[in-house]
């Protein structure tokens, strides 16, 4: 252990003891986007107001914002720990209920039974333990180990919980080759959707010559239905920062860039703050922990563009250009951002790295099945009871995910459709529920695990309507650089719209397949290559819905009667096209 780290750790432990075992109550409120969007900030204001009113000599409490415990359906979650007692979690707390909660939990020291979710780190008679609840018990939280437990604004809370131990271990006793070898041993594969072995990918960058080389961390995450990247950065940004530094050490890189979509205030501000604190503590910058290794990280923001999540488009966006993919080769490891060797990793991939180094590659590879090592971070949304973000060992079946983790389909309905891996991932039918969550098994079943989003649709959903929505998304988000994608998506949308409104023609399905083949063969990036997946998979599993539309001119569930959103791309006005003679019109 380096002396610098030892000093940090002592200070962090001392502060953590005061918070977690001190004489004051500790109230944690989930303030990731899932909590904030249903009033968590208002709950914090109400708590602070109530604590001020309720005679401070009787209640001494600290209120901390924390990240996402993953149980989004129960947000806003308020977690109250009295001195010496267990943590008691309350669900769906509204500002109106805060006075009653403070009165019961903090003044009287009782449990407010109609809001209580469960206890952690201890038992209370008559209250369930969180570990008895399926959405909690079935999880193996590695990347999310701190999410919802620590304040993401405070790097010392991360350090007190084992944070930066891996960096200290690597810098004080491991060569870059040993760090890379540990990642290779772990069997970790990229979690952005391609599942390429991370150790191999890092090897490409190691082989490129410096002095400036980049580790890029991709949190563009435009996939509707997936919010785990943003969830990690909002809940525990330091695990990603530490992962980036370790990746930099292993590959001999000098700089890191975290790439986030503009407008995602939570991830942006919390990551920015974590980076600033890491610099202050000597965990970033020159001569990290006195080891002689130097590394810098910055945040790069991008405008709204789904394709900017593609690795070469991402580099264009960092350089401030239109986020359109580049032709490969040259590959990023040779010529990347600003022309320098670069390596792009997803947020989730990097979030695992500190634990892989701390506990060893063997430990990580013991989790999961077959070639799918470690955990999957799943985002469940749509028609499902326990909407949330769960980290489970790979190999669990889709049925267990839906029924046990997700608590089943609400309102006594049956599941009809699962949309996995983002809009390009395609759909699955209920008879594929016995498929294990495993990269290869999911692909064999006809879908992809992708970034981990699973959207459930019950029997009221029409596959044609959902497919239309997915294709509208893909069409809107096509960057327009290559024509098979740009025109193919537009044609697909026209045809599916026709079918949806009952005007479909007999040869429409064949026509769509032909467009799909061209898009797959001729597009530059995954957006066009995979863009036919929603239609292909829908035709495989839900032909009956298409048949009813085509032959009977009606929608089997009636959902196609609703209106649709027809988004328009904002165009600049005519002034944009009349500037040829302007003084700044020529490059100066």
């Amino acid at each position: 252990m380096t002396e610098a780290y030892q000093a940090l750790k002592q200070e962090a432990d001392r502060r953590w003891q005061t918070l977690a075992q001190g004489e004051r109550s500790w109230i944690r409120v989930g303030t990731a986007i899932c909590g904030r969007s249903v009033g968590a900030v208002e709950v914090i204001y109400a708590l602070q107001e109530e604590l001020r009113r309720a005679r401070p000599e009787r209640i001494s409490a600290v209120v901390s914002p924390v990240g996402c415990l993953g149980l989004c359906y129960a947000e806003p979650i308020v977690d109250i720990k009295l001195p010496g007692g267990p943590r008691v979690l309350y669900r769906n707390v509204s500002p109106e209920r805060v006075p009653a909660l403070v009165e019961a939990a903090l003044v009287k020291g009782e449990v407010l039974s109609d809001l209580v979710l469960g206890t952690l780190d201890g038992k209370i008679e008559g209250v369930p333990e969180m570990t008895d609840l399926a959405p909690w018990r079935m999880q193996t939280r590695v990347a999310l180990r701190n999410a919802g437990h620590i304040d993401p604004h405070d790097i010392l809370q991360y350090i007190a919980n084992g944070g930066y131990e891996a960096l200290d271990k690597a810098l004080s006793g491991m060569t870059p080759q040993q760090v890379a070898q540990e990642v290779t041993t772990s069997g970790l594969r990229g979690r952005g959707g391609a599942f390429f072995p991370t150790g191999t990918k890092w090897g490409f960058l190691t082989g490129s010559r410096g002095p400036i080389k980049y580790i890029l961390c991709n949190c563009e995450e435009g996939d509707p239905g997936a919010y785990n990247d943003k969830g990690i950065l909002e809940s525990d940004p330091n695990t990603v920062i530490e992962g980036i530094i370790l990746a930099g050490y292993a590959t001999g890189a000098s700089n890191g860039i975290v790439f986030i979509r503009h407008g995602n205030e939570g991830p942006i501000s919390r990551t920015g703050r974590a980076i600033a604190q890491a610099y202050e503590m000597g965990l970033l910058g020159k001569n990290i922990l006195g080891s002689g290794f130097s590394f810098d990280i910055e945040v790069s923001l991008v405008g709204e563009s789904y394709v900017s999540g593609e690795e070469t488009a991402l580099m264009e966006a960092i350089e401030g250009k239109r986020a359109m993919p580049r032709a490969r080769p040259p590959f990023p490891a040779a010529v990347g951002v600003w022309g320098k060797p670069s390596n792009i990793n997803n947020v989730k991939t990097l979030a695992y790295v500190p634990e892989v180094i701390r506990k060893g590659g063997q430990w990580f590879s013991a989790i999961g099945v077959n070639r799918s090592k470690g955990t999957a971070i799943l985002c469940l949304s749509g028609h499902i009871a326990h909407r949330g973000m769960y980290e489970v060992a790979l190999g669990i079946t889709l049925r267990d995910v839906m029924e046990k983790l997700g608590g089943g389909i609400p309102d006594g309905r049956k599941v009809k459709i699962l949309q996995t891996g983002g809009p390009l991932g395609g759909v699955l039918s209920a008879d594929k529920l016995d498929t294990p969550v495993d990269f290869e098994a999911m692909a064999a079943a006809g879908a992809i695990l992708g970034s981990g989003g699973i959207i459930y649709g019950d029997e009221t959903v029409c596959a044609v309507d959902l497919t239309r929505n997915l294709i509208a998304f893909c069409q809107f988000e096509s960057c327009g650089k290559c024509f098979p994608c740009r025109l193919g998506m537009t044609h697909l949308l026209d045809i599916i719209e026709r079918i949806r409104s009952g005007q479909g023609r007999r040869d429409d399905l064949d026509l769509m397949r032909r467009y799909g083949e061209t898009m797959q063969a001729g597009s530059m990036c995954g957006h066009g290559q995979l863009g036919f997946n929603p239609v292909r998979s829908a035709l495989t599993f839900f032909m009956e819905d298409f048949r009813v539309h085509l032959e009977e001119g009606r929608c089997p569930t009636g959902s196609c009667q609703q209106m649709v959103a027809n988004p328009t791309r904002t165009r600049p006005g005519p002034e944009a096209y009349t500037v040829i003679a302007h003084p700044y019109g020529a490059r100066g």
Partner: protein
Amino acid sequence: MSTQDIATLRQRTQGALEAHRKAARTVTVLSCLLAAHDALGYLPQEAIEEVARSTDHTINDVWGVASFYTNFRFTSPGEHTVEVCWGPTCHLVGAMNVLQAVQEALGLQGEGETADGRISLKYNTCLGACSQAPVIRSDEHVLGGMTPARALALLASLRHKQT
């Protein structure tokens, strides 16, 4: 627009770009456009010109970047902006009912500004709170669990709120 207004737009853009240069490690056309858009709420021709000058790019280069990203707008927005998500999760759990109610209440057929210029309606493909779908963003606040009734109440409160 008066000469005075144009001068103000230029000044405000320059101020935003200066602040951005001080705060950022890396300055690009895109990062400048984001800073200008944050400050003005839209990108007028003057802002494009200032970004071109400040980054040493042509105006056409800058328009090229600006017109690519869907968050940029080129006309001044209403006092409040409401974004309705129509991504697949929101769509499945009732976003279209919310959107229909919002459009009817605002007297709009699609994206755009109300006749009195107070509220802008925009669509969004994902606001990142899928677990709380359907989702709306009202100015900078993301709000989950939307229903037509809650959306209408939100619009009513925006109409009464001063900026």
